[in-house]
């Protein structure tokens, strides 16, 4: 049986760019050695020492989403441009690169905002990723099977704290917990049934829960039909450099806001 590598070798034409999605180190070296094209690698962190590397902090299970966000990142980093043809090699069924497809890059279809969210935010990309992962898990499983809603603000915690007031006793007072610790994830899930927002600092410290966000909603334009939780989430990002990540209780989607605008909408099930 011919391997994927040989098939790609015969398939790829001179001016196409090879995009490897989450390859292992050995696979990356194999492809770079035998295919003399521009190679863009997509992954969590650059373990390959690759020159053209796109950081995609969330590994989507849905291949379409994965490719979409990867190409978007590559465009943002100037590795490919509108109209280029790329050959994407990805995992689909097994745990190794087992499928490839040729795609024409169309910039107009690639502006979901995930890169604006991760790269041009003041807070650590890893912190935003951790929160997003947590919200995705929350959206998938809900609280005891029931769908839950949640609101997290990440970054600029000092200002967010001054623009909000406590609804109840803050369970995270005098604690030193950070998002991403596994025990914290359980705690947050338990607390998420309660009203109000979670405030998380630039470096991932959970500052407070049960915060009522008091930002003015003047001049905020969010899609019609979203509720007060989304409005509060969007409004708090208007006057601060924070981003807010909102899990909708009614439709189960996750929406991220920045500078008062909706920048990303993901379905937890696609992840």
């Amino acid at each position: 049986m011919r391997g994927i590598l040989e098939m790609v070798e015969g398939f790829i034409s001179k001016d196409q760019v090879l995009v490897l999605l989450y390859p292992s180190v050995a696979e990356y070296e194999k492809y770079v050695e035998s295919i003399d094209r521009r190679v863009v690698v997509v992954g969590r962190e650059n373990v390959w020492g690759a020159e053209s590397f796109v950081e995609l902090p969330l590994e989507f299970e849905d291949v379409k989403e994965k490719i979409r966000f990867s190409l978007e990142g590559a465009i943002r980093n100037g590795m490919i441009s509108d109209g280029d043809e790329v050959v994407c090699i990805s995992k689909l069924f097994s745990n190794e690169l087992d499928s490839f497809m040729r795609i024409r890059v169309e910039e107009s279809q690639l502006n979901s905002g995930i890169y604006a969210l991760f790269l041009s935010s003041k807070s650590d990309a890893g912190v935003i990723r951790d929160v997003l992962e947590l919200v995705i898990e929350l959206g998938k499983k809900g609280q005891n099977g029931e769908p839950v809603g949640a609101l997290f603000t990440v970054g600029d915690a000092g200002k967010v704290m001054n623009k909000s007031c406590p609804l109840s006793y803050n369970p995270f007072e005098k604690s030193h917990v950070h998002v991403g610790d596994s025990i914290v994830n359980v705690m947050l899930k338990e607390f998420s049934r309660l009203d109000g927002a979670f405030v998380i600092s630039d470096e991932g410290k959970i500052v407070a829960a049960y915060r009522y966000l008091e930002a003015s909603s003047e001049g905020i334009n969010i899609p019609k039909g979203l509720g007060t939780r989304h409005m509060a989430g969007a409004a708090i990002t208007k006057g601060t450099s924070a981003v807010s990540i909102v899990l909708s209780e009614s439709d189960g989607l996750i929406r991220c806001f920045k500078s008062g605008e909706l920048v990303l909408e993901v379905d937890p099930e696609a992840y």
């Binding site: 180190v25 050995a26 962190e45 650059n46 373990v47 600029d156 915690a157 000092g158 200002k159 967010v160 704290m161 001054n162 007072e173 005098k174 030193h176 600092s201 630039d202 470096e203 410290k205 500052v207």
Partner: protein, 260 residues
């Protein structure tokens, strides 16, 4: 005739015994090799050595570190059985040779394993350090992972030589001087950081101010954004300040009280 038969009988008895021994040795060696491979895989060695140069070299030769280690242990056991077989045969080997070999064998084996482990650990140290320095785009920074790698390999070589009873005193002294110089340099270079960390520990434990409070340290005034072990980040109307924690300690801190 009779003598010939006796010799044959004796010989064949011995041959049966020896061949039985050799077969047993080979079987045990196989079993141990398989078992050790499984154990090594279970404790996650393949994942730990991934990306190291040893594993890459092994990969080029079509094997892997785990297979190599289990092969080494297999050959050790086979070698041992052959040695025992030779003793039984009494061919020209004086007892002394056997004793010496039996003495050296295990230590050679352990030193081989330690050496391999040293190389792998050195590579791993290099990878870990260079990954943490990944963000720094400075060519000279490449030397730090290399230093980490060769320090680990040096120590493993020291242990190996100690195993083989080679005089290593001079090398140990060298290691001591090296370690001491690192301690001396870093205690001078990082003294401010040490002070800040000590102060930061106090601040984190007692929390005289929290994120969102408005504070003043010296002439810096603003809202606290972040408190880490080393610094307190404060933001005012149009400035973002990083105050080293030892400064908070030295100059004291004023916190605004809301009287509404």
């Amino acid at each position: 005739m009779e003598i010939g038969e006796q010799v044959l009988a004796l010989l064949s008895e011995e041959i049966v015994l020896i061949s039985f021994l050799l077969i047993m040795g080979a079987v045990v060696a196989q079993v141990i090799a398989r078992g050790s491979k499984k154990i090594l895989e279970k404790i996650g060695i393949p994942k730990a050595v991934e990306g190291t140069s040893l594993e890459r070299a092994m990969g080029k030769m079509g094997t892997s570190t785990v297979v190599m280690i289990s092969k080494i242990s297999m050959w050790l056991i086979i070698g041992g059985t052959i040695l025992v077989a030779l003793t039984l045969l009494d061919v020209n080997y004086s007892q002394q040779v056997v004793d010496v070999t039996a003495d050296i064998f295990p230590s050679v084996f352990t030193s081989l394993i330690i050496f391999l482990a040293g190389i792998v650990l050195g590579d791993k140290a290099e990878i870990v350090v260079s990954r943490s320095l990944r963000g720094i785009k400075l060519p000279e920074v490449g030397i730090i992972p290399k230093i980490a790698k060769y320090s680990v390999i040096y120590i493993s070589v020291l242990i190996v030589l100690g195993q083989l009873d080679v005089a290593t005193n001079a090398l140990v002294v060298l290691l001591g001087v090296y370690a001491l110089s690192i301690v001396a340099f870093s205690s001078v270079a990082f003294s401010d950081m040490l002070k800040s960390t000590a102060a930061g520990l106090y601040l984190v434990l007692t929390q005289p101010y929290v994120i969102g409070d408005e504070i003043r340290v010296g002439n810096v005034k603003g809202i606290v954004q972040e408190i880490t072990m080393l610094v307190t980040r404060v933001e005012s109307e149009n400035e973002e300040c990083m105050i080293p924690n030892d400064r908070v300690f030295r100059e004291g801190v004023a916190r605004k009280i809301n009287r509404e």
